[in-house]
Symmetry: C2
């Protein structure tokens, strides 16, 4: 499981054994049960996550309804926006499945960054890459219909459709659960 973390980091920088050991000494690895809540609306946090196994989601509570806006699965890194803005969180984060994550906090990162400046470089590259990817995702969302978004998701993240409840997928696609259900049966009809 540790190797998954190092494989991920290797995409951005090369680590020495010393640096790997320094990371391992931080005790980053955590197991979490399905349904565990990592962050609640209104809370402050300075923790960042990296998913080794399982799936976590972010969701807003609006008019008593959950609105799921993002899923993070194996090899996804994620820093909640409230950590960056230093404001109370607007959303919840919870585990959809039993999961194994690394959880780091801003202090750890500051320490590692000062000890090993190349981590700074990794963080920059990673943020830039995630920003660019998210921009593309956002653009695709804006320029397509709910049905196109669903078909697009089917291509790009077919696992999500299997492992995530429909009503959570619906808000991820920007629609209501009933509409997703209808849209799916419409697609099935077309195939026949």
């Amino acid at each position: 499981m540790q190797n998954k973390l190092f494989d991920f980091i290797a995409k951005y920088i090369a680590l020495t054994e010393d640096e790997k050991n320094a990371l391992l000494s931080l005790n980053l690895f955590h197991s979490l049960k399905k349904g565990s809540v990592l962050l609640k609306e209104g809370q402050y946090s300075n923790e960042s996550f990296f998913v080794l196994k399982g799936c976590i989601r972010t969701y807003y509570m609006i008019d008593g309804e959950e609105k799921t806006t993002a899923f993070y699965t194996e090899m996804d890194a994620f820093t909640p926006s409230c950590v960056i803005s230093k404001t109370p969180s607007d959303y919840f984060i919870s585990c959809i499945e039993d999961s194994i994550l690394t959880i780091s906090n801003a202090d750890m990162e500051a320490e590692v960054n000062s000890k090993f400046p190349k981590f700074e470089l990794m963080c920059r590259k990673l943020s830039e890459e995630l920003l660019a990817k998210q921009r593309i995702d956002f653009d695709e969302f804006k320029t397509s219909s709910p049905e196109e978004r669903y078909l697009n998701l089917l291509q790009k993240r077919p696992d999500l459709i299997q492992r995530v409840p429909q009503h959570q997928l619906a808000s991820y696609l920007g629609i209501k659960p009933q509409s997703l259900s209808r849209l799916r049966s419409r697609i099935l009809e077309k195939k026949n």
Copy 2:
């Protein structure tokens, strides 16, 4: 105009006079006429932008129609995703108004970053901040209707509604120009 750039940088790191002069020697400042195209679909680029004055937009050409997905105005920094992914651009970038931008390229940035490591820190902070902000924007987009998005934009970026053509705003809101026009008149009716 140079001070605008330094004011922006000052939000992230403190610069010495030497560092400021090093930046100025790079000849970053450019004036562009309304309608100038900065990047075309299919092109490679390694240029990043910072808007000192004016407005630029990104747009896709889909089925012969322009789909505008983003606007960048005064004090906005922007690196196209194709610069990060090193692939041909999926979209166009052009000036909506006569504009003054700084245009830097990856080589310049590498040089500055190696001369002044604190620039690396600035880039990381900036990317993280933009990523967090964009996440919030995306979430708001997903969880609201076209009408709510329009009203939200009216609050957050009222200038855009004045300076940007309606049909470009429409695709930015994820709808057709006719729908935006109708939606606006619907809102006016409600007020009376």
